[in-house]
């Protein structure tokens, strides 16, 4: 479990970000160390903004932010952070006319890899990691969405960064690609910190040692995936039909209905998943905010 302290890769204290009068992040407190951290939450929760702050693409409005032990507000520190950073933005923007190799090579140049031989080796390494070596001479505009995501992922791995910030990296990937992505990330995360935001609780379950749930700019859960799932223990049951009192219910593959919420007495309880825990958490949050 990641702990706070000066050894942390990322440390936030009362971090706030506002656009005009809209507060997008409210007083966040968080400390992250090595390993994979999943950021869960609905659209508008502030995940993308938080990730941009971590990637030094944005400045906070107030509070303190420490990335890799340095302060991004200081120009020299910011440069050092960026030298050890890899970032995949939510909207993958690429130069259409470049080939895969040319684009990743270009980003490598921007990452100050001036030695040609070393740069070539690094570009080939990251292309191999995301399995794009075969198509590296293809122009980007000829690639599918999943391949473009992999190009974006490849550039983030250049220079073996200590902090990897990934904004919804598995959108548009098919199951095989998502599996491969998990392999790449867990390999990379061994001594490094990876923060990724996702809508898919399966990604969190499979990949993250820690999960942070956000809603409306605040952190509503910070713990392990098992801990999140445990929030739903005793609250998930299977029944022949959807229970109208359940928070949510849906039909499963075997014809029964999975219900999440306050379980009636005597039902057949099911093992809760991260998704169930997430639903319960949100249900509670919704209940609180509507009160």
């Amino acid at each position: 479990m990641n702990t706070a302290g000066s050894g942390a890769h990322v440390a936030l204290t009362q971090l706030t970000k506002s656009y005009g009068r809209t507060e997008v992040l409210r007083g966040l407190n968080l400390a992250l160390g090595p390993g994979v951290v999943g950021l869960l939450g609905p659209n508008g929760a502030g995940k993308t903004t938080l990730l941009k702050l971590l990637a030094t693409a944005l400045a906070p409005t107030s509070g303190t932010l420490e990335v890799l032990g340095r302060n991004p507000a200081d120009a020299a520190d910011r440069l050092e952070i960026r030298r050890r950073l890899g970032y995949v933005p939510q909207e993958v923007g690429l130069y259409e006319n470049f080939t895969v190799y040319e684009f990743v090579d270009y980003i490598a140049i921007l990452k100050e890899q001036t030695d040609r031989a070393a740069r070539r080796a690094d570009v080939c390494r990251v292309l191999a990691a995301v399995d794009l070596e075969d198509v590296r001479s293809k122009k980007i505009r000829k690639l599918s969405g999943g391949m473009r995501r992999r190009v974006a992922l490849a550039q983030s791995l250049l220079g073996d960064p200590q902090l990897l910030v990934l904004d919804e990296p598995t959108v548009g990937l098919d199951p095989e690609q998502r599996l491969r992505f998990r392999q790449i990330v867990s390999q990379h995360a061994e001594r490094r910190c990876v923060v990724l935001s996702t809508h898919m609780t399966e990604d969190v379950e499979a990949l993250c040692e820690r999960v942070v749930v956000m809603d409306h700019g605040a952190i509503i859960f910070d713990g392990t995936p098992a801990g999140l799932a445990a929030l739903a223990s005793g609250k998930v049951w299977l029944a022949p039909a959807a229970d109208p009192n359940a928070l949510m219910s849906w039909r499963t593959g075997d014809g029964r209905h999975r219900n999440v919420g306050d379980a009636p007495v005597g039902v057949h309880l099911a093992e809760p998943t991260v998704q169930d825990g997430y639903l319960v958490l949100n249900g509670r949050v919704l209940a609180v905010s509507s009160a």
Binding site: E133, D134, V135, S137, K138
Partner: protein
């Protein structure tokens, strides 16, 4: 959708190469670069030049895969590229003898192609009876499919000599096959 490239035919590989798949080029290289290299070395003793010709060949394959017309085997197409690259490199070293314009037409007729198709047979034995310089000309024009000018470049003899030797070789071969 990963295909096992080792199961693709040569023609399929070339299509994949035309579609910009680098792994397909690597597989084609694995299958063919060896014999192309060896065959070039039988024509030119300069290892550096042979390596350069081989390199140019596969770069040309990558760039020109779309121009492969599927007539004839991929091996023949590759060899055509390779031998012409080698001749180009040789040309840079030695000056071209002035020649007439029909020197650029391929010398080999259909009849001679038939002769070439007989691997182990009368031709082989007949070839044995030719003198080395006649054999070299037959090899260049029949086996390698070169024009007079190209053969003269490769063998470093005037084009006139290539023609006279070829005529003598035909006479002797026909005599031997009868």
């Amino acid at each position: 959708m990963r295909r096992d490239l080792t199961e693709c035919s040569d023609t399929e590989l070339v299509s994949l190469i035309a579609d910009e798949h680098r792994d397909a080029l690597a597989e084609l290289y694995r299958r063919h670069a060896g014999w192309v290299l060896a065959r070039l070395r039988y024509r030119c003793a300069d290892d550096g030049m042979v390596a350069e010709a081989l390199q140019d060949t596969f770069v040309a394959v990558w760039k020109g895969a779309r121009s492969y017309d599927r007539r004839g085997a991929v091996g023949g197409w590759l060899w055509g590229i390779a031998i012409r690259r080698l001749i180009g490199l040789l040309r840079k070293r030695r000056p071209i003898p002035v020649a007439r314009c029909d020197d650029d037409v391929a010398m080999v007729s259909a009849e001679e192609l038939v002769l070439a198709g007989t691997e182990h047979g009368a031709l082989a034995g007949a070839m044995r009876s030719l003198s080395p310089e006649l054999r070299a000309v037959v090899q260049a024009t029949v086996l390698d499919g070169l024009t007079t000018r190209e053969a003269s470049q490769l063998l470093n003899i005037p084009t006139g000599t290539v023609k006279t030797r070829m005529m003598r070789a035909k006479v002797e071969l026909r005599g031997a096959l009868v």
